[in-house]
């Protein structure tokens, strides 16, 4: 076995090491990218408005016209489900105003043909999560805490990530989020400076039992 030259030319090590390093860096990059995407709005859909049969503006109705949330979402105080307004609710005003505009055509058609409007869900929870609207609003959690600044949304978009961490944050200590009953349905709300003090007072006022809030069965059955 004589007459064998060296196997690797000078600089081979450098190349090899570079490759190893590159592979390692690449691995990191990919995982980070995935992580970043998972936490980005593109995944959580926060701030994304899905198209709807009718261009309905919460900003106009809730903020500008000051129509109470409960006028349309009528069962929010009595039922786990906030309720979607039946077509007749829309028409209670729009039979009078703008009834003829193209914008509202789908609503009118729905009423005439007695076929329901099909809204695209903006806030979707997995099937195994059981959220109860009525108890949240009864205990001082306002709409915007989960649905975002609905009052400033021309087109309705998902307002918060609503992942389990977010739910837990509030279920472990709701005080920073508690509001007096009067402010629950405000289309926009920011905690006041003295929220710490008020939160504690409100927790007492609502008689919040905290311990069971972090039980799995509170949300999962």
């Amino acid at each position: 076995m004589s007459g064998r030259g060296p196997i690797f030319r000078p600089g081979a090590s450098a190349k090899f090491r570079a490759c190893l390093l590159l592979g390692f860096v690449l691995l990191l990059a990919v995982t980070d990218a995935g992580y970043a995407f998972y936490h980005s709005p593109w995944w959580s859909r926060v701030g994304f408005a899905s198209d709807q049969p009718v261009l309905f503006s919460h900003r106009h109705h809730a903020a500008e016209l000051r129509i109470d949330c409960r006028y349309c979402h009528s069962s929010v105080e009595t039922s786990p489900f906030a309720g979607m307004p039946p077509t007749e609710t829309c028409l209670s005003c729009h039979s009078q105003i703008f009834g003829t505009t193209a914008l509202l055509r789908p609503v009118v058609v729905s009423a005439e043909t007695n076929q329901p409007l099909r809204w695209n869900r903006v806030t979707r929870m997995p099937d195994f999560v059981y959220f109860d609207h009525q108890i949240h609003v009864a205990k001082g959690i306002g709409c915007t805490s989960c649905h975002g600044a609905i009052g400033s949304m021309a087109l309705t978009a998902k307002g918060e990530r609503l992942d389990m961490r977010q739910c837990l944050e509030c279920h472990r200590d709701p005080r920073p989020f508690l509001r007096p009953s009067a402010e629950i349905f405000l289309p926009a709300w920011t905690p006041p400076a003295d929220q710490a003090a008020r939160g504690a007072a409100l927790a007492a006022h609502y008689g919040l039992a905290l311990r069971h809030l972090t039980n799995c069965s509170t949300c999962h059955r």
């Binding site: 786990p80 309720g83 979607m84 007695n114 099909r118 997995p126 195994f128 059981y130 999962h220 059955r221």
Partner: protein
């Protein structure tokens, strides 16, 4: 319970869902059609519906996301069971008992619970059939008009009606009206099941009063139309409260196990052939004459003990004869009750509620068959019954039927009879149709539908009217007409609304009739002794399928039968002794021959069944029951004769075997004491169980500490809890193959144990849900924390966190955990999903599941209580099993509150926990079974 003014179903949103079914629609999607809520659950691949679809006009009776309850009635052998039906967005999902109806008292048995599934059964008959080919109602109507033209001139001569006996005033009115129109038409009634009247009188027992009860062939706790009422009353006399009980004593004389026999303090297993001799001996012993020599030791002992007890002064006594018994024996019992002075005290008679003895009815199936044979019948309308399947073999009804030119059949399924007639008409499910029914106690209930007919079906009342040729009237108007006529016009609507609210028609039950139906002084009649037959065949309705009418109900098929835990098949039940003699084992196929009638059936050995008899249940061997029920087991009707006599039974082994699916394989306690019993006399000596010490620091309790107590003294083992749990918690049906593999899914099971030496067996039933151990072994071993403890003491099971290691089940000493070995969910687009409870996740493949004390009910109650700033009241939360239990054996509540009912129960000296030595600290505990021997 608001009256149902407008059916939610009437809104087009529903029609869209029910009639034209979008194939890509998942369960949530469907509910979306009806305004589904975020709260509606289901681990259906974690698919949340993409769309939210509100109503166009929201019915005021509906709050989206909240269930509504409506009172109605469920027919049980023609009698009414008062029920409350839970509906979500107009979709009936669960049947509960109606507390305001006497025959329910809030309880509902397994069969009633399962009726909800039948509503959504895809195999239901959905349109008329003409000679097996799809047709339409108008086509039938024109066909009938022709027939009518032929019949009318001759006053309906040659027209025969065959119905099942009914209690419905409207249906009876309809029948009479039809008979008025065709005076020469004849109305026959057929039921394979029991008659509950004798000589036009209907016995009604007061088990709360009776101190000593003799039950001949059982039959008052199971299968009786008043079983729920009787069970509650009976249980009241067995329940130990505050260490005391006014216990009755039950003597059972029976050939095969009945629920009553299992509760008996003293039981004698004797074949039917021995019955007359033993009863005669009772009579002689009563009249203080020496017992005949023909009695063997056990019989002699039984009779002496019994008569001694009957004689003891101050005792209220009662004798009950099973309703399948021959008239002679039932008359014997009737007379004995008179002689013992029971009548008016523990037994009352009322005029028959059901139409069996209706003066205008012309007899039973046999009579009809003879009439056909004589060529007297040219047109036959079979309304509701399935005689081709349920007729006795020697009637050969199918053959007779072929000789009738014009035949029609009204039924919920295109069954055996439907296949043999010219016209088959689909009948509405009772939750789809207006009608009225009477309970065994005579109380009337308006049967109110919750939903528009899913298919093109009609109710019996509507069809009768059609046949009578009257202008069509909706079921709603028909029923109102009946009752307006009874009540008179004044404020009818007010009454009507009240009746619908309450679920009972007030002031409506037939008065007690002459308490002495026959001459009182006649002594207890002498029963002719039967020739000592080697083997007698005992034919009984299936505990769940009855005469086979429920055969296509998956829940009932998979509900373990009492005493055998058999599912999906029926078997010929024989005693182990007989099995030994004939070298037969469970599952061996035998050729069963009885007076020339032959079937092949697998045998199953039941300890404690009398030697010299074999028991066969009807309901098997259906050929046209549907996808679920056809071809299950063997058809015992092929063994039945018109006379009902079945002596000279011959069994010959074929050498072949079948695999019978049973959910329990070990019926002996094997020296262990899962079921603890005590004799009444030892009650004072019982000491409450002391909790063992633990290495771990005790956890601070939350406001509520949920717990359950199950009373084995009152549990009769009727399995209502199992069915209720299945309905409430979306528990799948897995099928025979999977049961054979040991993969049944019930969250609560009723264990059966036979104890005691041969000849003196006792049978114990024990419902076993999750014990919710405070130191739960399952939790420790779960690698992902999918099962952990809640602050309120629930052993939580988080389906969406479960990865399926199944370690928790291995480490569960009670083996109450169930695993989704396959995807057991119905197909995504299956109509069966309409029954799903939206409050409970539908579990995915590969996850563990188990009882959670109906946590969805706890959460609902807490949410409401906290909203109103009040604590949850004791009894406000009732688990599904507890709610269904007719014996009130199950109590659930807050053990942290010493005043709560459950805390009281747990304080009883007879309270014990299963496998206490493991120190798992179960929150579910038992009350030992009290036995009251002489």
């Amino acid at each position: 319970m608001p009256p149902l003014t407008s059916l939610p179903a009437r809104s087009p949103e529903f029609a869209e869902g029910a009639d034209v079914w979008p194939p890509d629609l998942d369960r949530r999607g469907f509910l979306g059609l009806m305004g589904a809520s975020l709260a509606l659950g289901g681990l259906a691949g974690c698919r949340a519906a993409k769309t939210l679809v509100p109503y166009t006009h929201q019915p005021d009776s509906v709050v989206p996301g909240l269930p509504s309850f409506y009172a109605s009635a469920c027919p049980c052998e023609g009698f009414a069971r008062g029920i409350l039906v839970e509906a979500h967005e107009g979709r009936p999902t669960k049947i509960e008992g109606n507390p305001r109806h006497a025959e329910s008292g809030g309880a509902a048995d397994a069969v009633t619970q399962a009726a909800i599934l039948a509503l959504y059964d895809p195999d239901r008959s959905q349109a008329p059939l003409h000679q097996g080919r799809p047709a339409s109602w108008p086509e039938f109507e024109s066909a009938w008009r022709e027939e009518d033209r032929r019949l009318a001139p001759v006053g309906g001569a040659g027209l025969a009606l065959l119905t099942e006996p009914t209690t419905s005033p409207t249906v009876r009115a309809g029948l009479h009206r039809l008979l008025d129109r065709f005076p020469r038409a004849r109305w026959f009634q057929h039921t394979a099941l029991a008659r509950y009247d004798a000589e036009g009188f209907q016995p009604d027992y007061d088990l709360a009063e009776a101190d000593v009860i003799l039950a001949i062939e059982g039959g008052f706790l199971d299968r009786h139309p008043a079983a729920l009422r009787y069970t509650r009353a009976f249980a009241g006399r067995r329940r130990v409260e505050k260490g005391a009980v006014r216990a009755n004593r039950l003597y059972a004389l029976e050939s095969a196990w009945s629920l009553a026999g299992a509760m008996a303090d003293r039981r004698l297993a004797a074949p039917p052939a021995r019955l007359p001799a033993i009863l005669n001996a009772v009579a002689t012993a009563w009249s203080r004459e020496p017992l005949p020599e023909t009695l063997d030791r056990e019989e002699r002992a039984f009779v002496t003990a019994l008569t001694a007890d009957l004689r003891r002064p101050g005792r209220k006594v009662l004798c009950i004869a099973g309703d399948e018994q021959p008239a002679a024996i039932r008359r014997w019992a009737q007379r004995l009750n008179q002689v013992l002075g029971a009548v008016g005290k523990t037994i009352r008679y009322r005029a028959a509620v059901r139409s069996d003895g209706d003066p205008r009815s012309a007899g039973d199936l046999g009579a009809l068959a003879d009439a056909i044979a004589r060529g007297e019948i040219s047109a036959l309308a079979i309304l509701g019954a399935n005689p081709v399947y349920t007729g006795p073999a020697d009637v050969e009804f199918a053959a007779r039927l072929a000789r009738v030119p014009f035949t029609l059949h009204l039924g919920g399924y295109a069954d055996e009879t439907a296949a043999a007639v010219r016209w088959h008409l689909p009948e509405s499910h009772f939750l789809e149709a207006w009608s009225d029914l009477r309970g065994y106690d005579g109380s009337a209930v308006i049967q109110q539908p919750l939903i528009d007919p899913l298919y093109d079906t009609r109710s019996l009342g509507e069809v009768l009217r059609l046949l009578a040729g009257d202008p069509p009237l909706s079921g709603y108007d028909l029923v109102r007409a009946t009752w307006r006529a009874r009540l008179g016009a004044d404020d009818f609507d007010g009454h009507w609304t009240r009746w619908l609210n309450a679920g009972v028609v007030d002031g409506e039950n037939t008065p007690t009739a002459n308490p002495e139906p026959a001459e009182a002084e006649e002594p207890v009649p002498y029963l002719d002794p039967e020739p000592a037959a080697a083997l007698t065949l005992v034919l009984r309705p299936d505990p769940w399928l009855g005469d086979g009418r429920h055969a296509n109900n998956g829940w009932l098929q998979e509900l373990p039968r009492p005493f055998t835990a058999l599912v999906w098949d029926n078997a010929l039940l024989i005693s182990p002794q007989l099995g030994r003699e004939q070298r037969l084992e469970n599952g061996d196929l035998v050729r069963v021959e009885c007076e020339g009638r032959v079937v092949e059936a697998p045998v199953w050995l039941v300890p404690g069944q009398a030697e010299g008899c074999a028991v066969a249940h009807w309901g098997g061997g259906r050929t046209r029951a549907g996808a679920v029920g056809s071809g299950r087991g063997f058809d015992a009707f092929r063994l039945q004769s018109r006379s009902g006599r079945a002596r000279g039974l011959k069994l010959t082994a074929t050498g072949r075997k079948t695999r019978l699916a049973s959910t329990q394989h070990q019926f002996a306690m094997d020296g262990r004491d899962p079921v603890q019993t005590f004799a009444l006399r030892d009650l004072g000596r019982l000491r409450p169980e002391q909790p063992a010490i633990s290495l771990y620091p005790a956890r601070a309790r939350d406001t509520y500490a949920w717990g359950m107590s199950i009373d084995l003294s009152t549990c009769i083992g009727c399995s209502a809890c199992v069915a209720a749990c299945q309905a409430e918690n979306n528990i799948p049906v897995v099928g025979k193959e999977q049961v054979l593999r040991g993969r049944v899914m019930h969250w609560i099971r009723v264990d059966t144990y036979f104890a005691g030496e041969p000849g003196a067996e006792r049978c114990h039933s024990q419902p076993v849900p999750c014990m919710q151990c405070e130191n739960a072994p399952c939790e420790l071993v779960c690698p992902v924390g999918a099962t952990v403890h809640s602050s309120e003491g629930l052993n939580e099971m988080v389906y969406n966190r479960c990865v399926g290691t199944r370690y928790c089940s291995n480490n569960c000493p009670y083996k109450v955990r169930r695993f989704n070995f396959f995807d057991f969910r119905a197909a995504a687009d299956s109509i069966l999903h309409l029954q799903d409870n939206p409050e409970v996740t539908v579990r995915q493949r590969g996850v563990m599941e188990k009882c959670t004390y109906c946590v969805q009910r706890i959460n609902r109650a807490r949410s409401e209580a906290e909203r109103d700033n009040r604590p949850i009241r004791d009894g406000e939360i009732r688990t599904a099993c507890q709610q269904a239990c007719p014996a009130e054996a199950i109590v659930f509540g807050n053990v942290a509150d010493p005043a709560s009912a459950v805390a009281q129960r747990k304080a009883e000296p007879s309270s014990y926990s299963l496998l206490a030595e493991l120190n798992t600290r179960p929150r579910t505990t038992y009350l030992a079974k009290m036995i009251n021997p002489a």
